[in-house]
């Protein structure tokens, strides 16, 4: 069979545009996974050992909250806090589906009650208040429950006098909660003011993708900003910008390396080095907790 060059690229483009969660890539038997970027077929167990980074092209697959925690936090040390805080459809919001139904579907799909899992754990022995966002739950969007869990995580860090770390992955505010989702930006940022005032360190780890209201609040207010390679990080989404300015965007625009170049992140760290980098930072701050 022959295909034209045009079709070849068309197909490739389509492939790239699909969702990036690894679960979706599984080829029957869950034994083999195909890399979205380079198309290489990877043995599942190898991918797992490589912390879900393609051994060939270094593509960093998006992680679920539980994968993130298990890759970062010392085994057996994580204790979840506020696990029962969940979103509710207080506006009776209906778009193509009722919000209440969307929440149920998201819970089924992600196996999580909300976007973010928060708790306390240790990273190479250092106690931290840690939160991991899961993009597979409604695009990691921030509604009242996410805002509340993030705020309570910061309050926990303040109370325990331990550094806070959030792994962000979010499309921004959750429109189905209207203005209340916007108010979560104010709430979480105010809570960070208190951490700052009390000299409690806060580290942002920006992962693919972090945009909108999440970036414009707690994801950009760290003492230290770390980003995973090639993560999309920005305020407005690339499509919105393209439509506004009617220009093509420069190569690498809004990617981690671009942000580093423009002074918005301290370190672009490959996933395999992340725990080491975090350990060095935690050791610098030297907070032992109370």
């Amino acid at each position: 069979m022959t295909i034209s060059i045009h079709d070849f690229f068309k197909k490739k483009k389509k492939r790239k545009a699909q969702a990036h969660t690894s679960e979706k890539l599984d080829i029957p038997g869950n034994l083999w996974v195909r890399c979205y970027r380079c198309g290489t077929t990877i043995y599942s167990k190898d991918l797992e050992t490589a912390l879900k980074v393609c051994p060939k092209c270094n593509y960093h697959f998006r992680l679920s909250a539980s994968e993130r925690i298990s890759f970062t936090v010392d085994e057996g040390t994580f204790e979840e806090i506020n696990p029962h805080i969940k979103s509710t459809d207080f506006l009776s919001f209906v778009d193509s589906k009722p919000y209440a139904k969307r929440l149920k579907d998201a819970e089924m799909k992600s196996g999580l009650p909300e976007v973010i899992v928060t708790g306390e754990g240790k990273i190479n022995g250092w106690s931290v208040a840690v939160g991991a966002m899961d993009f597979s739950f409604m695009g990691g969007s921030m509604g009242s429950a996410v805002g509340e869990k993030v705020t309570r995580l910061f309050e926990h860090a303040l109370h325990r006098k331990i550094p806070a770390i959030i792994f962000s992955s979010s499309g921004g505010a959750r429109m189905q909660e209207g203005i209340m989702s916007l108010m979560q930006m104010a709430k979480t940022s105010s809570a960070l003011g208190r951490l700052r005032e009390n000299c409690i360190p806060y580290i942002c780890v920006l992962t693919d993708p972090t945009t909108g209201g999440t970036t414009a609040s707690f994801a950009m207010l760290g003492d230290i900003h770390i980003a995973e390679p090639n993560a999309l990080i920005g305020f407005a989404g690339p499509r919105v910008i393209e439509q506004t300015i009617r220009q093509k965007l420069p190569a690498g625009f809004q990617r981690s390396e671009y942000l580093e170049e423009h002074g918005m992140v301290d370190i672009v760290s490959p996933r395999k080095d992340l725990k080491k980098v975090l350990t060095n930072i935690l050791s610098f701050f030297d907070f032992k907790g109370e």
Partner: protein
């Protein structure tokens, strides 16, 4: 009487028809020498009545149209009416001066105040110069710089919100639009001085909140405050930008709805037919609301002010737990 059809919105069609009648009468009066004053007065009364009725029950999308009306008074219009001796302060001291954000100092009666606010234009040319009221990171950084002047010298801050949103552009991203807004949110929570926010037109998402964390947040009657524009929400969630009306309805973006949700503290009345019918009266209403709300704040210590603001936003959110 000047008949300004252009300023009428689509839903004001019944008013346009009445204007047309007056015009016809005036023509007749010019040709024949009959006196039609009585009739004209009657029609004018009907115009007022129709307007009152129309504006008594605007749909959310109609409210959006009023909030975006080209003739709607801008921040500078209100500053001119409310403050004496206004001095504009420009520039973020880092990169540039953003004309989409107005900052300055002035006197509210005897009280020295710091003022910040988005600035839209009144025509295409002005709007291009003001970037349609969409601020760049420099705008937010300028606002923060000037708010910190207030903070240091113990002066109250009044912010006027009227923006479709923070500007989504290449430069804005490169220079940290998200960081600039985020930093303002954190900093506003820590201000030691009384802080009042008035949403006068469009309260567009993070771009609005970026200067909008007052101890008291008020909205003009026909302004809107929303996490995303109804068109944006429609195209993402409803996959159809023409469903803006549904999106506007669903998101609860009007002053009435937001007061019910506890996101704002007060609604400031507008003249019948909207703020653009009478800038002076609207400004008077705003001034009254500022003075009334400032009074108790002026008696609070800086610690109480910070706690008051913190608790206000800490409480926001509706969720389940259990």
């Amino acid at each position: 009487m000047e008949l300004d059809y252009k300023s009428l919105l689509p839903f004001e069609k019944p008013i346009a028809e009445l204007y047309k009648k007056i015009e016809d009468l005036q023509k007749m009066a010019r040709h024949g020498k009959i006196n039609l004053e009585e009739e004209t007065k009657l029609i004018q009364k009907r115009i007022q009545k129709t307007r009152r009725e129309l504006f008594a029950e605007l749909t959310p999308l109609q409210t959006v149209q009023v909030a975006r009306h080209m003739g709607r008074p801008t921040t500078l219009d209100y500053i001119g009416q409310i403050f004496e001796g206004f001095v504009e302060l420009r520039g973020d001291r880092n990169f540039s001066n953003d004309p989409a954000m107005i900052c300055g100092i002035g006197k509210l009666d005897d009280l020295s105040c710091v003022v910040v606010g988005h600035q839209k234009g009144k025509n295409t040319k002005e709007n291009i110069a003001r970037n349609f009221g969409m601020a760049q990171p420099e705008g937010y950084r300028k606002a923060l710089r000037v708010m910190r002047v207030a903070d240091r010298f113990g002066k109250p801050i009044i912010s006027f919100v009227d923006t479709p949103g923070a500007y989504p552009g290449i430069g804005a991203e490169e220079r940290g639009q998200a960081e600039a807004i985020a930093k303002n949110l954190r900093a506003m929570a820590e201000l030691h001085v009384p802080f009042i926010t008035i949403i006068t037109g469009e309260g567009g998402s993070g771009g609005a909140l970026g200067i909008g964390m007052g101890n008291k947040v008020m909205m003009l009657e026909f302004s809107i405050y929303s996490v995303i524009s109804p068109e944006g929400c429609a195209s993402i969630l409803f996959r159809d930008a023409t469903k803006a009306s549904l999106a506007a309805e669903a998101m609860k973006i009007t002053a009435k709805d937001l007061l019910k949700l506890g996101v704002i503290d007060e609604i400031i009345k507008e003249p019948i037919g909207g703020a653009h019918q009478d800038t002076k009266l609207t400004a008077q209403n705003i001034k009254k609301a500022i003075l009334t709300n400032l009074k108790p704040l002026m008696h609070m210590t800086s610690r109480e002010l910070i706690a008051d603001r913190y608790n206000k936003f800490r409480k926001m959110g509706i969720f389940e737990n259990g």
